[in-house]
């Protein structure tokens, strides 16, 4: 009995720790300006909720455009990344192409300091007129998602037994047919998880969005950053914008938790 009390106490503390700032976003979003800046413990949780922040958000900031841009960029970059990463990861996993070295090179793109790519691309995009366009940002996010997607899919492909392919070969299937008819259906769940990861990453990305977009193609992250740095920070309005930024990812996290957790362990753990 005593052990159970300790267990639940520890669990409660851990969960409170992880959830506290998330809950605070939603609370702040419905607080009036005065309540958000109120000094004292009395109005932290008990206050009269208001929708004024949302009204001001829609009238004062291009939040709708930002959300639309973020969605376009996230989906397009994910699709591109999957198209390139799926065959490549299969090649790495089944044929050990480049005996580990090429795979490392691919993954190392994820280690690049953002700025290494940012400087040359900034100058090149300026020449090509790609700054502040959807295509420019899509290309950059595609590139950064591609390497990660390849690594994740590599783990999933390795779980598919090679014997399946031998059987198919005996049946007279060619290599491409095997990939299309045998392997692809089996990799679908893994591919779905990978796509979700790419989507979330692209949705949350800040550095490139911030450097490469300005007015037309700006994403929600850029919009959020604009709140910080003003003299009188509108915390409530900012929190209202945050709810739109984080809600889609929270919903995905909740409904796909089992698959996401499986993806997080990179196929290194069987079972």
């Amino acid at each position: 009995m005593r052990r159970r009390v300790w267990f639940w106490l520890a669990t409660a503390i851990a969960l409170a720790f992880f959830l506290f700032p998330i809950i605070w976003v939603f609370l702040t979003a419905i607080k009036s300006r005065a309540d958000a800046l109120h000094v004292g413990l009395d109005k932290l949780i008990t206050f009269s909720p208001t929708l004024i922040n949302y009204q001001e958000l829609f009238s004062h900031t291009p939040i709708v455009l930002e959300l639309r841009n973020t969605a376009i960029v996230a989906v397009a970059s994910t699709v591109l990344a999957m198209v390139v990463a799926l065959p490549a990861a299969y090649s790495f996993a089944r044929f050990n192409t480049g005996s580990g070295h090429l795979l490392f090179v691919t993954i190392s793109t994820r280690m690049f300091p953002g700025a290494v790519a940012a400087i040359p691309f900034f100058l090149t995009f300026k020449e090509l007129g790609l700054l502040d366009t959807h295509i420019g940002l899509i290309l950059l996010l595609f590139y950064f998602n591609m390497s990660f997607a390849t690594f994740l899919l590599f783990g999933f492909f390795r779980e598919i037994p090679e014997e399946l392919e031998h059987t198919a070969m005996v049946d007279g299937y060619g290599r491409f047919e095997i990939f299309r008819r045998i392997i692809f259906p089996l990799i679908k769940p893994g591919a779905a998880i990978t796509a979700v990861f790419c989507l979330v990453w692209a949705w949350n990305e800040f550095l490139f969005a911030f450097l490469f977009t300005n007015l037309n193609a700006r994403t929600t992250s850029v919009g959020l950053a604009a709140f910080w740095g003003t003299i009188e920070i509108e915390w409530g309005r900012m929190a209202a914008a945050m709810t739109f930024t984080i809600l889609p990812t929270l919903i995905i996290a909740w409904f796909m938790q089992r698959y996401i957790i499986r993806g997080l362990t990179f196929g290194a753990v069987k079972g």
Binding site: L19, F121, A225
Partner: protein
């Protein structure tokens, strides 16, 4: 496929179409990987060489770049600014990973059992991982405000006195804390998966032999979890070296918190010193690749990809 059989069995040579060559036993693996290689060529080699060129020039976007040889490298490697940023980055790296590993393992051990609300607990724990880091750093910024931030209000309520969370003494730790908050769940899930996959018999044998729980943990559980700890260390190193969002959302490099990636950003995009920015970027890339190559070798060994 039939063409192959004809060729092998009857010795009939048929002219193969381009598609057949692409999907042949010999070339298929390269066909699959070509789009990736092309992308790497454009997006990786091109900017790297571009940066290499600019790192040897003095270039401020206004006038044409002037070749100055090694001067940028000499200047950067001799400047306190670069070394402090590097030192700080490593400090954040070590503290963050150490705390995440120990906290993650503790919580994984706690939750490695059947209990009611298991799935709900795990689902809630997952939330920080997928949330926009910039949004969360801005929220933490609000929560840790000196006058009206919740944490200081609660501290004041407990008569403990307020803390300037973003002054020179605390700022770097506050930012490290934000990253720990967001990424500890990652360690929890990796370790939980590892604990679930541990072989039963070894533990039963240890029990029969009368081993204490602590001995079993140290001699059996910990070594078996090592490959997973490696994954966490590798990935977190990669991500932490590029830590940018929490800095932008809080101090913007002030209060002695400027880390490597932010330094590059400031020099290249606010001072528009492209030459020097490229130099620091390349040095930091070089360090990261060396560090991660070592970690990656260990990881591949642990995953059994290479012996």
């Amino acid at each position: 496929m039939l063409a192959h059989i004809d060729e092998a069995v009857y010795g009939i040579q048929k002219r193969r179409t381009f598609w057949e060559v692409l999907t042949s036993e010999k070339y298929f693996k390269w066909t699959l990987i070509t789009p990736l290689l092309l992308t790497l060529l454009v997006f990786m080699l091109y900017p790297t060489f571009y940066s290499l060129y600019y790192s040897t020039t003095e270039y401020g976007l206004v006038k044409a770049p002037v070749f100055i040889g090694w001067d940028n490298y000499r200047y950067v490697l001799g400047s306190a600014m670069f070394w402090t940023a590097l030192g700080r980055t490593f400090k954040v790296l070590v503290i963050s990973i150490a705390v995440e590993l120990s906290l993650g393992l503790t919580l994984a051990l706690l939750w490695n059992r059947k209990f009611t609300g298991e799935n709900v607990t795990r689902g809630l724990c997952l939330l920080p991982l997928l949330i926009s880091p910039l949004a969360m750093s801005l929220m933490w910024n609000y929560i840790t405000q000196y006058d009206y931030g919740v944490i200081n209000l609660v501290l004041l309520g407990l008569h403990l006195g307020k803390v300037q969370w973003f002054d020179v003494r605390w700022a770097l730790y506050t930012i490290t804390f934000m990253s720990i908050w967001q990424w500890t769940p990652f360690s929890i899930f990796v370790f939980l998966a590892g604990l679930r996959g541990l072989p039963r018999d070894a533990f039963e044998a240890a029990k029969v032999d009368g081993a204490t729980p602590w001995y079993t943990f140290r001699r059996l559980t910990l070594p078996m979890l090592m490959p997973l700890a490696m994954i966490i260390v590798l990935l977190r190193t990669m991500w932490l070296i590029r830590l940018f969002d929490p800095l932008y959302g809080t101090t913007q490099g002030g209060s002695r918190t400027e880390l490597l990636d932010f330094l590059i950003y400031r020099i290249a995009f606010t001072f528009f010193d492209i030459g020097q920015g490229s130099t620091i970027a390349l040095i930091s890339l070089f360090l990261t690749i060396i560090l991660c190559a070592i970690l990656f070798r260990h990881l591949m060994k642990a995953m059994g990809v290479v012996k």
